[in-house]
């Protein structure tokens, strides 16, 4: 193909977009709305995933230290714990602080225990964070075997339940995201298909006048791509500025609830790229598959 023919195809594609005004408008707006939906839901679902991640990260192991342990033993225990590969961080918690925390956590009810401060029934403890929250149980079991560890507490039962819940939620989320993206792809391809079905006669005439399949396909290829990409413009703008706005205005409020939003960058860039990619690729794909149907003249 000559360069000038490629130029001609490009010019032809944009001419056609302009002259099919109504159709172009209808299909670009369908792409726009679909991608907007994808963008918004994706943002929300990613933030929920992020939230689940934060909740999981709150999980910790408390290894209570035997009252008989000397300072040496305590230091040695720390070294031993830190040697476990899955451990990220170890901090020491005195029994006095432990009781204070407990009383605070229990709220009003805890006041009843204030009297206990003199004869503290708790023990000193190491608070252990694992690299992956899911390793909590395994690490807890290893720590339990170490010397001078009286007992280990990691919210047995609750933690397993939590991970089960976050796993189920993640799976549901994945299914929803995939379903959403496939739906969007189908709808975009379908819209473009509808615009091309109505140009079937044009394609047939072109073939009768001696155009090769490739010659006919090129402008449609460019048109499909342009439709998809133009359709992604508004969703991208909404995502970029909308998320920035929501982040700035809402995240201080959410911070009081210990909920953190995903930072604006690079999230919005990634989402924008994804939307443009879906629009462009599906635009081309929808366009070419439907043109092919009418090329057999």
């Amino acid at each position: 193909m000559k360069i000038r023919t490629l130029k001609r195809h490009g010019a032809e594609a944009f001419k056609s977009l302009g002259r099919n005004g109504w159709m172009t408008f209808a299909s670009i707006s369908a792409v726009t709305v679909t991608l907007l939906l994808v963008g918004v839901f994706l943002t929300v679902l990613l933030n929920l995933n992020n939230l689940a991640h934060h909740i999981e990260n709150d999980v910790e192991i408390r290894a209570y230290i035997d009252r008989t342990a000397k300072q040496d033993n305590v230091d040695q225990l720390r070294a031993q714990i830190e040697q476990i590969p899955k451990v990220k961080e170890v901090t020491f918690l005195t029994k006095e602080e432990g009781l204070k925390q407990l009383i605070k956590d229990l709220g009003d009810q805890g006041k009843a225990f204030s009297s206990l401060e003199k004869e503290n029934p708790l023990r000193d403890a190491y608070i252990i964070k694992t690299k992956r929250p899911q390793d909590t149980v395994i690490v807890a079991k290893e720590v339990e075997k170490l010397n001078y560890v009286k007992n280990v507490n990691y919210g047995k039962g609750t933690v397993e339940k939590l991970f089960k819940v976050t796993k189920v939620s993640r799976n549901i989320g994945m299914v929803l995201i995939l379903g959403l993206i496939f739906t969007a792809m189908f709808l975009i391809a379908n819209t473009i298909k509808l615009t091309i079905i109505s140009r079937r006669r044009e394609i047939e005439i072109m073939k009768l006048v001696g155009a090769t399949n490739g010659f006919i396909r090129w402008p449609f290829f460019i048109e499909g791509f342009a439709l998809g990409v133009f359709g992604a413009v508004i969703p991208v703008l909404v995502i970029v500025f909308g998320y920035q706005f929501v982040y700035d205005s809402v995240s201080p409020k959410l911070a009081t609830m210990f909920i953190k939003l995903i930072p604006t960058y690079p999230l919005v860039l990634e989402l924008s790229l994804l939307l443009i990619l879906i629009g462009g690729v599906i635009g081309v794909w929808g366009s070419l598959t439907s043109v092919r149907k009418f090329l057999k003249v």
């Binding site: 000038r4 056609s16 005439i205 009768l208 006048v209 001696g210 155009a211 010659f215």
Partner: protein
């Protein structure tokens, strides 16, 4: 040049449009195809540029057998045959100029050559001043002339015209006939399906008469026939 050997065409709905056509048209001939409405004239010419595939039989164009031709070769074949379609078949979203230029764009002519040649041909059919109009802004006869312009713009060795003067007043029709005679005199084969008795009887050429899908008459310098 164009040869049909025992060609039959039955449309999917059961209509038998061609029933054993045998014909040979030599290079440089000028042939009228006449016959009553629904006789099979359009089907006959449609088989030549492969708008329709015959159900049975062999068609040879310039030595190539159309039933053995590969799908990819068809565009090349069609570029060698200029067609004036009975229903014009103009691209509705392209201007007059662009419609005619299309036949040159497919052969990747240079834009400059295209511009010159298209304006030349539009001038021939007296539509130079309507070059920027869209087909639905034209009268019936003007649309027909655009279709004629497109068929001859790439100077193909064969021109097939299906009822090219149906929407033209006699004077304009005469002008179109002059064009066809002119290109024919330069060696182009012309096959023209027509109902225009006056034209056939004035410009005497070979006449092929089709009735019920059969060739019932084939004479050199014939006349329209069907006297009432």
């Amino acid at each position: 040049m164009i040869e049909m050997i025992d060609v039959w065409k039955t449309y999917p709905n059961g209509v038998m449009a061609l029933n054993g056509i045998d014909v040979y048209i030599d290079k440089g001939e000028f042939v009228y195809v006449v016959g009553p409405s629904g006789a099979g004239k359009s089907t006959f010419v449609k088989c030549m540029y492969r708008e329709e595939k015959p159900t049975k039989g062999t068609i040879m164009i310039n030595g190539t057998n159309l039933s053995k031709i590969k799908e990819r070769q068809i565009p090349k074949l069609r570029r060698k045959i200029g067609v004036v379609f009975q229903d014009f078949k103009l691209l509705p979203k392209l201007t007059v100029y662009e419609n005619v230029a299309f036949a040159l764009e497919v052969i990747e002519e240079s834009p400059k050559a295209i511009r010159q040649r298209v304006m030349e041909v539009l001038d021939l059919v007296h539509l130079k001043n309507k070059a920027r109009f869209f087909p639905d802004e034209l009268s019936g006869g003007e649309q027909q002339r655009v279709s004629i312009a497109r068929s001859i713009v790439n100077t193909p060795p064969v021109v097939i015209a299906d009822e090219p003067t149906g929407n033209l007043d006699p004077e304009t029709a005469w002008g179109i006939m002059d064009i066809f005679q002119e290109i024919n005199s330069r060696g182009t084969t012309v096959v023209m399906a027509t109902h225009n008795k006056e034209i056939v009887n004035t410009f005497k050429k070979r006449v092929i008469a089709i009735e019920g899908g059969r060739i019932v008459r084939d004479e050199q310098k014939g006349d329209y026939g069907y006297e009432d």
